[in-house]
């Protein structure tokens, strides 16, 4: 806890001092939306449409289809599991599946645990959650707009994956940029009309 704190700016807040509005903001997620999606992996560029659907309060499906209509994968996320409903064989690789599981999962799953650490710097409130294997996730909320603006994933001090979120449209994040620092992987999503 102390070593984690050493990587963050000062100004720790107690959970009880944080407004319930900001806690709600930290729990913002995608419910039902379709995104025009671009993926850049090293020198390769891919695109398609990602469809998010909340099946009920806890379970979500995420389907990726090409613009021409070919389905590449269909994943189901529940609070404690990740199920592959369909995945095109060339994509059934652990590294690829882990990336999608973590990157898409962070956008739809709400936390049932409390943050281990809350920090405020200027208008930004950071909720830090402890994950397995000494990993941490920072959910950063802008206290002025009440919107979740970023998610940082990684170790105690080194960020491995940075997610930026801009705007809310029809109750869903409007624009999302996910950057993997070690993999040269960038995933960009822009919401489109359904």
């Amino acid at each position: 806890m102390f070593s984690l704190a050493s990587c963050h700016a000062t100004g720790n807040l107690r959970l009880s001092t944080v407004s319930a509005d900001y806690l709600r903001a930290e729990r913002q997620r995608i419910h039902n939306a379709t995104y025009n999606t671009k993926i850049d992996f090293y020198k390769k560029h891919f695109s398609g449409l990602l469809l998010f659907k909340a099946v009920n309060d806890t379970n979500n499906r995420v389907v990726f289809v090409t613009e021409t209509g070919f389905k590449l994968f269909d994943f189901e996320f529940t609070p404690h599991s990740f199920n592959i409903q369909y995945c095109l064989p060339p994509l059934r690789k652990k590294l690829i599946l882990d990336v999608f599981k973590n990157d898409l999962g962070q956008l739809i799953q709400t936390d049932t645990v409390s943050p281990v650490y809350i920090n405020q710097k200027d208008s930004l409130i950071t909720f830090t959650f402890a994950r397995e294997n000494n990993k941490y996730e920072d959910y950063i909320v802008d206290s002025k707009s009440g919107q979740l603006t970023a998610i940082e994933r990684g170790g105690k001090c080194v960020k491995q994956v940075s997610t930026k979120i801009v705007g809310i449209n029809k109750g869903n994040f409007d624009e999302i940029s996910i950057r993997h620092h070690a993999l040269k992987l960038h995933i960009y999503l822009k919401q489109i009309e359904r």
Binding site: T34, N36, K38, H45, S47, L49, L51, K53, V55, R61, V63, V65, T66, E67, T68, G69, F70, K71, D74, Q85, Y86, Y188, I192, E193, R194
Partner: protein, 211 residues
């Protein structure tokens, strides 16, 4: 009595609509096959607007997109998606050009199985060669205005993905009205064509695959 007449007329109207939509086996299959093959040989180009619907059965969701389709003999294809996203796919002489609003990518079609299948299906549907394909078992049906080619895949790769592909052809000019690609999973992709311009002059530049 007045109500009975109204119900009778309504029933008759519904019956006529149902009959118009239902398909029966083609009466003269040999001559119809010959006609489709002939038209395929003589059709040089097609330009049409399209509406594509991707239906995700398990989720009761659909994704609709619109654009313009171009075909020029022998195997040049251009698919321009305008709504709700910008996307361009050009297939020409074994090469593919893909342009989205971020980047242009050129690739060799033979290295990408998905595009190979997309290309084969589009070309064979448009130029009529689908009826002679050994990859499908083809049933020919018709109603007053349209022919329907009901194609069940035989080839392994296709069979794993598609349960059937149906092509609806306008009897007036033998052009394709609609393509339905039904997947094994229960999902399907439906493409409806409209504002068709047959054998017009289409500039070769539209099929350029240079970045």
């Amino acid at each position: 009595m007045k109500h009975r007449v109204v119900y009778f007329l309504l029933f008759m109207c519904l019956s006529v609509i149902t009959m118009a939509q239902s398909f029966a086996p083609v009466k003269d299959e040999t001559s119809t096959r010959k006609k489709i093959a002939e038209i395929g040989k003589t059709s040089n180009s097609i330009k049409a607007d399209f509406v594509q619907e991707k239906n995700l059965a398990m989720l009761s969701e659909k994704i609709t997109s619109k654009g313009t389709f171009y075909f020029k003999k022998d195997n040049k294809v251009r698919l321009e998606y305008h709504q709700p996203f910008k996307y361009l796919l050009v297939i020409n002489d074994g090469k593919i050009l893909i342009k989205d609003d971020a980047k242009s990518t050129q690739m060799d079609m033979h290295k990408n199985k998905i595009f190979q299948e997309v290309n084969n299906i589009i070309i064979s549907c448009v130029n009529g060669s689908a009826i002679g394909s050994t990859d499908f078992d083809v049933k020919m049906l018709e109603n007053a205005g349209q022919l329907k080619l009901e194609m069940k895949p035989i080839a392994k790769g296709l069979k794993d993905f598609f349960s059937s592909i149906s092509i609806f052809i306008d009897k007036k000019d033998y052009s394709v009205n609609r393509i339905e690609m039904n997947e094994v999973s229960g999902d399907n992709t439906i493409i409806n064509f409209s504002n068709k311009e047959l054998n017009g002059n289409i500039d070769d530049k539209l099929f350029s695959v240079s970045k």
